[in-house]
């Protein structure tokens, strides 16, 4: 049986070395040919022998993405028994993602969890006795992806998409009611109204896509908490890390109003930083509460950044936090090194096994070392991030972009003066794609909406 062409990142994402993007299906070769430029001029994968390796570059349009090796394996002599291409990328996680996105943009579909294995099986590649194992793979990957794709999507993004879907289904239902009951409901002049709505929605989707480009629609990344006493410079550190060039500024309120979450990309490592800076109050007892809360957040974190003010003495609160950091993945920042040092690096090193990094946020000293340290922890696997996060992001993005394309078609239909029934077909596609982003199936949404919102005849 011939299936469509799928693509996925085949390597674990917890190191920034080589990453492989795997493409499989009828159009695999054709798709990669579109984006791969061989170092040897005019070499096309469609013309070379199977099971050969080729050196060159991947391009997204005119933009060069990465230097790669491409392995061509024509079916049936491949894992899936379909035509397959593997793209070995070198530029780290972000680049691997870009390559996958480019492959998808050029006609492949983001593979479902376990789909390569499924195809390998269905195409007779895997021994039948392994059917149960294959089913297990599909199940476990799906459970994981399902859990993650929704958990990872930011609350604000979810509600945005829900809101857009509500508007879309309202308009689809309106058109459909008029088609079902033309004597009761008129569509005169309606295309102007719809144009406005479609324009608005397209703009909103475009913003979402931009955010997705920066990895900002997901709560992805290493869950990182910045802790420390008030006034040690937590916020300025965060602001500095976020920086203008990395500007991510979608603040979302957490469970309490005080918590700020930021996604930052630090040398290819994605951090989801929870800033506990806001836990401060003017009351005296609050300092203690602040510490307690910090500990609470730190308990859930993958990585803890503990900020100490070098110009003041360590007190019992600090001792308490340092105690808590034992055995945890943490970095201790000795901030304000531009002032007179009261607490020194040596003093801290004696108390802890964690990295201690002297920093002056104000003078931009030591930040580089901090970034390198975190990156190293990530590369060495001290801190791990699940690869599904990246996949999820790409899948969501391609779905949002499908919705965007469907709306473009609606606009075309309106401009071409097509009858209204053509609009609702593409509107429905957009509605469905967005539904997949937030994990909502179609069911009887449309019919329900028609009956509840519009009065039909008889």
């Amino acid at each position: 049986m011939k299936w469509d062409t799928i693509a996925a990142i085949a390597t674990a994402m917890s190191n920034s070395g080589i990453g492989i993007v795997r493409v499989s299906g009828e159009n695999a070769v054709e798709i990669v040919d579109k984006i791969f430029k061989s170092a040897k001029k005019n070499k096309k994968l469609s013309e070379v022998d199977t099971h050969t390796i080729h050196y060159g570059h991947i391009y997204d349009g005119d933009e060069m993405i990465d230097e790669v090796m491409v392995v061509l394996m024509k079916g049936p002599n491949s894992y899936t028994r379909e035509d397959s291409v593997e793209i070995d990328c070198h530029g780290g996680i972000l680049v691997v993602q870009r390559v996958l996105e480019t492959v998808i943009k050029n006609g492949a579909r983001c593979a479902e969890p376990g789909e390569f294995t499924k195809r390998a099986f269905l195409n007779g590649r895997i021994d039948l006795s392994q059917a149960e194992a294959v089913i297990d793979v599909i199940n476990s990957k799906n459970n994981f992806a399902l859990k993650n794709s929704l958990n990872q999507l930011k609350g604000s993004v979810q509600s945005k998409i829900k809101n857009i879907r509500e508007r879309l289904i309202y308009h689809i239902a309106f058109i459909e009611s008029a088609l079902d009951d033309p004597e009761h409901i008129s569509l005169d002049g309606y295309s102007d109204e719809l144009t406005v709505v479609v324009d608005e929605v397209m703009q909103e989707l475009e913003q979402l896509l931009e955010r997705a480009d920066d990895g900002k629609i997901l709560k992805e990344g290493i869950k990182t908490v910045i802790v420390g006493k008030p006034n040690v410079g937590k916020s300025s550190l965060l602001n500095h890390l976020v920086g203008e060039d990395r500007a991510i500024v979608t603040n979302i309120a957490g469970t309490t109003r005080d918590i700020i979450e930021e996604n930052i990309n630090l040398r290819g490592v994605s951090l989801n930083i929870i800033d506990t800076a806001g836990i401060r109050d003017t009351d005296d007892v609050v300092e203690k509460i602040g510490v307690e809360k910090s500990i609470q957040y730190a308990n859930d974190a993958d990585l803890i950044i503990y900020v100490v003010d070098s110009s003041t003495k360590l007190d019992e609160n600090d001792e308490q936090i340092i105690e808590m950091l034992k055995g945890r993945k943490a970095v201790i920042i000795l901030n304000k090194t531009d002032l007179d040092m009261v607490t020194t690096e040596d003093m801290l090193i004696k108390k802890t096994e964690n990295f201690v990094i002297p920093v002056s946020v104000k003078e931009n000293k030591g930040i580089d070392l901090l970034e390198k340290t975190i990156q190293n922890m990530f590369i060495k696997g001290t801190v791990e991030l699940n690869d599904e996060v990246y996949i999820t992001n790409i899948r969501q993005k391609s779905l949002i972009s499908n919705a965007f394309e469907s709306l473009k078609l609606v606009k075309n239909s309106i401009m071409d003066d097509m009858p209204e029934d053509f609009y609702s077909i593409d509107l429905m596609d957009a509605y469905e794609s967005l539904g997949q982003v937030i994990g909502e199936a179609m069911e009887d949404d449309l019919v329900n909406q028609i009956f509840s919102k519009f009065c039909m005849g008889k």
Binding site: K118, I138, M418, D421, S424, K458
Partner: protein
């Protein structure tokens, strides 16, 4: 005790729109068929609205016709007004609707039935089905007579344990005061069939002489009428048409309704059945759409030889006295005399999940069903199912392969798939929005989509089938010719374009490109198409639509290709999902309950996820290879 015993191939229970098509299909395929009805006078009765067709229902009628059914032919001979709805919209939603002379419609259908070979009509109430070893063997009537047969088709409409209600009045009858069927439900339940209770309703009929039409807007039929049936000569339907009339409810009407809501059996909680949301009673409309200060009311003639007028838009179950005041508050109805009260009707039907897409019961071999008994609503939906149930009961009896139309082939496919796959808790009505491939499932191409199936089944004769095939060739040839006929920038061409406000040509182009322009069409470019030969209107219509909407049609065809991949993957009968440990429990339960025939159908069951489908595919593959 000796009782009457007779033998037939097939028994059809019910003589409504489903029963008629079922009985005709079976007898036309040469099987000895008997149709039971509680009253012969009620054959092909239209107890509610006096029209056939309309949005998406018109599609069904065309499909019934293409498969060799009778409804299209019957309405072509008995209509009194006809209109193509949605003409300003795309071809996919054009819908033909005809007002019927109800008595004439019913009389002519009865005549067709009476004159069909192998078909017997019997007035009697069927009280029991006889099942042996999960297989149907016959039925018993109320009088005790036994009819042995190979298949039974249940088309009981709204008659099972029916009761009609308005205000506090309850009549234990079927529609229009006809005798209800009070025993069959129990027999079905005894045989393990799960029943639902649905309700629907109808407005009053008003004496034409008591209506002031000067206060209403006249609604005419189309100037040029298009027939439903492929076999009807277009000239034969250009008759003198009757008018319908449009008026509106007003605040006073709504006030009367609101003030008496507590006397409605629905609001008072007397009615237990689930009603359809798409044809709400006027009470429902006033409550649900409180912000609307008026609702449309259509006065439609019930026939040429009756003064009864149907009050479309005002079905109700309010008490008689309220009905009077309510109708008389409407402009033009001030002196209205009611001939028949509006009423709600409650009836037993089945949970259609128990059916295969062939419309045979999963658990009782040889038992088929169609129409409102399956939880649908509408004459056309009923006829469509009756036809498929009839064809399949006949094919099965003949030992031939039964037919299943899928969602990409016909509205009938969508209708049946929705019924048997979705959890349906209200009378199901067809809608164009339910068809995901509606650009392909147009009413204009029904005959091209389905003649092959109809011919293979044996209901479409060779002559008609060959005619359709010839036309298909002509369509293809004509499209190719247009794509390969080039026109330059001659004055004649530019003038024609100017006449239709179309951008002039910079260089030569082919005629197909011109047809694609929204402001042009196959017909209007005729003057610059020098080699054109005269073709049947049905052919040129297809040529025009196929070229004009090529892009959209191609996209849907591609989607259909994907759809067919899993739709064609069959699941073995009586497959036990409990053996697949990898399936989630919810999916296992749902699959065991619905017993889908294909992976495609399984994927549409609510609660079955794409991951479950993957697991199922893997498992079936393993099973296939082990054999």
């Amino acid at each position: 005790m000796s009782a009457l015993v007779e033998n037939y191939d097939i028994v059809v229970v019910g003589g409504g729109h489903a029963g008629c098509e079922a009985a005709l299909a079976c007898s036309r395929l040469g099987l000895e068929t008997i149709l039971f009805t509680v009253n012969v006078e009620s054959i092909a009765l239209m107890p509610c609205n006096p029209n056939i067709g309309g949005s998406s229902k018109g599609h069904l009628v065309r499909e019934i016709d293409a498969l060799g059914g009778e409804m299209g032919k019957n309405i072509d001979k008995t209509f009194i007004q006809s209109k193509m709805l949605n003409k300003s919209k795309g071809p996919a939603v054009h819908s033909l609707r005809a007002q019927a002379d109800k008595a004439e419609y019913s009389r002519r259908m009865r005549q067709v039935l009476e004159n069909t070979e192998h078909l017997t009509i019997r007035q009697a109430e069927v009280a029991e089905i006889v099942v042996e070893d999960k297989k149907i063997t016959g039925i018993k009537t109320f009088s005790g007579a036994l009819y042995n047969c190979k298949s039974v088709i249940l088309c009981t409409g709204t008659y099972l344990n029916a009761r009609c209600l308005y205000g506090e009045v309850i009549n234990y009858t079927g529609p229009n005061g006809l005798q209800s069927a009070n025993y069959l439900s129990d027999s079905l339940k005894k045989n393990g069939i799960e029943m639902y209770r649905f309700k629907t309703g109808t407005p009053a009929r008003i004496d034409r002489r008591s209506i002031d039409f000067t206060k209403m807007e006249e609604q005419f039929g189309d100037e040029r009428v298009v027939p439903f049936s492929f076999s009807t000569n277009a000239e034969d339907v250009q008759i003198k048409q009757e008018s319908c009339w449009l008026t509106y409810t007003n605040e006073e009407t709504h006030e009367i309704i609101r003030a008496n809501l507590d006397r409605s059996p629905i609001y008072a909680g007397i009615i237990e059945g689930t009603g359809p949301r798409y044809c709400p009673s006027i009470e429902d409309k006033v409550v649900k759409f409180a912000d609307k200060n008026r609702h449309q009311v259509f006065l439609e003639p019930e026939g040429l030889y009756t003064n009864e007028m149907y009050v479309g838009g005002m079905s109700s179950s309010l008490p008689e006295d309220v009905q009077y005041r309510m109708y008389q508050s409407v402009a033009g109805l001030e002196n209205a005399k009611i001939v028949k009260n509006a009423y709600a009707i409650e009836y037993d039907c089945i949970n259609p999940r128990q059916l295969n897409p062939t419309l045979e019961f999963k658990e009782i071999e040889g038992l088929f069903s169609g129409g409102q008994f399956n939880g649908s609503s509408g004459y056309e939906e009923a006829a469509a199912q009756g036809l498929i149930a009839g064809i399949n009961a006949a094919l099965k009896t003949l030992g031939r392969e039964m037919i299943i139309l899928d969602r990409s082939e016909a509205y009938i496919g969508v209708l049946i798939d929705d019924l048997v796959t979705k959890e349906n808790r209200e009378p199901y009505r067809m809608m164009t929005s339910r068809a995901e491939y509606r650009l392909l499932l147009r009413q204009d191409n029904a005959v091209f989509r389905l003649s092959k199936t109809g011919h293979k089944a044996g209901l479409v004769n060779d002559e008609q089938y060959e005619r359709v095939m010839r036309m298909e060739e002509e369509i293809e040839k004509e499209i190719k010719r247009l794509e390969n006929t080039f026109v330059g920038t001659s004055k004649e061409v530019q003038d024609l374009l100017e006449r239709y406000e179309s951008t002039p040509l910079n260089s030569g182009t082919d005629l197909a490109e011109l047809v694609k322009r929204p402001e042009l069409s196959y017909d209007v470019i005729a003057p610059i198409d020098k080699d054109r030969i005269e073709l049947d209107e049905k052919v040129t219509e297809q040529v025009n639509i196929t070229i004009k909407y090529e892009g959209y049609i191609k996209r849907q065809l591609k989607q259909v290709e994907q759809f067919k991949k899993i739709e064609k993957k069959r699941i073995p009968e009586n497959f036990d999902y409990d053996v697949i440990s990898g399936l989630r429990i919810e999916a296992r339960q749902k699959l065991n309950l619905f017993k889908p025939v294909s992976i495609g159908q399984a994927s549409r069951i609510s609660g079955v996820t794409p991951a479950d489908i993957s697991v199922l595919l893997v498992y079936l593959e393993q099973l296939r290879n082990h054999k």
